[in-house]
């Protein structure tokens, strides 16, 4: 319950600003957040924009896909892949990415960040 209390829902953008089956980058709380609209699955995900492998602000330009049932994003630099739901690195590396909850209301997209 505590975490819920601390979570701030920040207005990120309009639905039409997002890219179907792709990502966009947002500046929220002075952080870079990648927002993905996985239209094929009708799912929204948000993660840190930085790829931890070479610390590049780039994941929002990554490619969406699935590994079995797991939704994932592939970094454009070296094709490291990360699970969008858990943030786990699927390329066998010891680096996970932060994920954030997303909700869509009245045509607006909100991302939950801890204040």
């Amino acid at each position: 319950m505590e975490t819920q209390l601390d979570t701030q829902w920040l207005q990120a953008c309009k639905i039409e600003d997002a890219i179907e089956n792709g990502g966009v980058c947002l500046k929220l709380n002075n952080q870079q957040v990648a927002l993905f609209y996985f239209a094929r699955r009708n799912e929204w995900y948000a993660t840190q924009n930085e790829c931890p492998h070479k610390r590049q602000m780039i994941l929002s330009r990554g490619m969406l896909g699935s590994l079995g049932d797991t939704p994932k994003v592939a970094c454009p630099f070296h094709k490291k892949t990360f699970a969008l739901d858990t943030g786990e690195c699927l390329s066998g590396d010891e680096c996970a990415i932060k994920t954030y909850p997303v909700k869509v209301e009245n045509g607006n997209v909100y991302i939950g960040m801890i204040a």
Binding site: C13, F38, R40, R61, A74, K79
Partner: protein, 838 residues
Amino acid sequence: MERKNIVIIGNGMVGNKICEKLKQKSSDLQITVFAEEPIRAYDRVHLTDYFKISSIDELFLSKNDWYAENNIKIHLNDPVVDVDLSKKEICSLKGQVIHYDYLIFATGSAAFVPPIPGVEKQGVFLYRTIEDLELIKAYAAKAKKGTVMGGGLLGLEAAKALVDLGIEETAVIEFAPRLMPRQIDASASALLEAKLAELGLSCLLQKSTSQLLGDEHLTGIAFNDGTVLETDMLVISAGIRPRDELAKKIGLAVGERGGILVNAQMQTSDPTVYAIGECALVNEMIYGLVAPGYEMAEIAAAHIIGEEKSFKGFDMSTKLKLMGVDVASFGDPFVSEPYARTILLEDRNKGIYKRLNVSTDGTRLLGGILVGEATSYNMLLQMVNNSMPLAEHPELLLFGEQRESKSASSGLEALPDQALICSCEGITKAQICDAVITHNCENAEAVKKCTKAGSGCGGCVPMVKDLVNYTMKQQGKYIRNTICEHFDLSRQELYDLIKIHELKSYDHVLDALGRGHGCEVCKPLVSSLIASLWNEMILGKGNDVAQDSNDRYLANIQKGGTYSVVPRIPGGEITPDKLIVIGEVAKKYNLYTKITGGQRIDLFGAHLNDLPFIWEELIAAGFESGHAYGKALRTVKSCVGSTWCRFGLHDSVSFAIRIEERYRGLRAPHKLKSAVSGCIRECAEAQSKDFGIIATEKGWNLYVCGNGGSKPQHALLLAADVDSETCIRYIDRFLMFYIRTADPLTRTAPWLNKMEGGIDYLRNVVVEDSLGMAEAWEQDMQLLVDSYRCEWKAAVEDPNIRKRFVHFVNAPEEKDDTVQFDTMRGQKKAADWNLKTI
């Protein structure tokens, strides 16, 4: 029940094999191995490969921990020096005393060193162990002339090794009047000699050595006929001598000329002691090949656990490649009138000699010899071993290869199930077919893992391959490279299906032909196919998110997340005004500039937000996209050609521009590069390109399938002295054939390398139109040429595409503030990967 103690003396190929056999047959055995060599068993058959490979690891017959895992104690570098047969105890060099219930001699053989004065000199070597090879290698570095004594199988291998080591003059001396006297006849030997001479290896026959010359170091060899051969080193390969000295010492019966006497169960004169492999004398024969040694291992192992098997002699047929020349001998190679009729083919023109020995009634094949061409060896051997009836015209068997493709499967079909395919491991046709059918082995490698077939001498591997393909065909299976978990199709299948169904977006393709939600493998691949087929704007129809990052932003992503921009400069020709524009744009947007390897100018360090503005200015000055970001035609390099150059034969720049403008934007399985040179001096380096053109007196020479990169490969001549129109038609066909059939991300060079029939086949398809596709391909290409549009022009004019070129969707004016640059030589450079704090 008490575990039986088994002690094995020797850890060569056969000593290793009997460990495997015993382990397979029983888990109630305590096995201990003593070995003289300091390393565990390795593949002696392929010893010559040791010079070519990086480490001995590739030659080991077992994994590092195999012995430990199987609870076998192995003592390397510790030979057995004494055995007490009455107490059943062995004693090793290091003083270990161990009781045995069964003792197995697998001591192998040593090279036979003839008693010639001077064999102790430096520069005289044997060819037997890894250590021998190390010594040879070290000495060869300073030797110019090398000689091998012994023209048998191993001697010729040794000679090849010397040639490979860079010895300038290599000779083989042989006592007999012909090479490989145990395997081939005089005519075959004569042909082989001629072939070896072409490769720089001379053969001296009927030579009996009297003395080795030189003081401390060898300098020459004197023969009984009074002649002398100068040489810096000598490798002796004059046959083998069984290692029976220990057996002799402890009182086991040995043969008059060496070898531990054994019966058909491999038992020596003491029934609890066995001998196998090259140290064993069975039926008055020493078997100097690995396959019979393995068979002996099987029989001894079986006998120890109470199975009754016996050794019934062994087929000594062999096939090998000596310095690129196939030599094979099978069944009884020498039988002749009146016991057989021979059929001979001697083609001095092509360097082929074949001999078949047929039974006097003409119904059975008894044996034969093949030199120069031996593709039918396995089938012929099977015909002998299985007494298969001969067809009406056995002479047709001499012309194996071209008929092979048609008759191969029918030949395999006729083969009985029990036909022994791998004689080293004793694997039959039925076992191989079973591996394919019930264990889903789909290639020879899988069959090898499953059954061990082909893991010995490797001679049966081609036949195993044929059997795998034959069996898979019978099962209705065929081999495919499927793309990923989302598409159970090969690239070519997908190409054809997208074309037939006229699919134009990634999502449609996935819905119609795939499953799941795609990935970073299939998305760019499908996008590339769609672009190759329809040549529509690659960012339309939702395909932008299915493009690789570079294609998606029509620029090359660089360290730090900025992009580089490459305007097309066809043929490398550019006006001063255009050069000035590039300079001005670079200054305005603070870009690092560099000339590329393909005669273009690359502008680095552009923010995503700036890309459309940069291109607006470039397009206004008459530039268009250079497709440096795509798996597409990159650049057509040119030399200045006949317009300026005093050597130039034709106007290479104009032709390069024409070629570049024809194929610009063409999407392919991988990037494509080209060049045009105005004369044979080849300043444009056309022979290192996917397709390259060189001017000749009469027209153009067209070369294809070259590349630079990590594995450089020269392009091969596809057509000579063609006119410009023909040249372009051939390139059209070549490119469409490549685009349609290549595996993903395969450039033209590896594509050709994998193509059966190679450049000749490709020439047939492209020049002779053997597939009847030329017209269709030319039309397809013309459609692509006609539908070309500059992607960047389309992008800057379309507000929906253009709005994607921002970093923050909620702050479109802001650039990524984490991007950093350093300075170097008066220009900026990307900051290094920022990896300090994780």
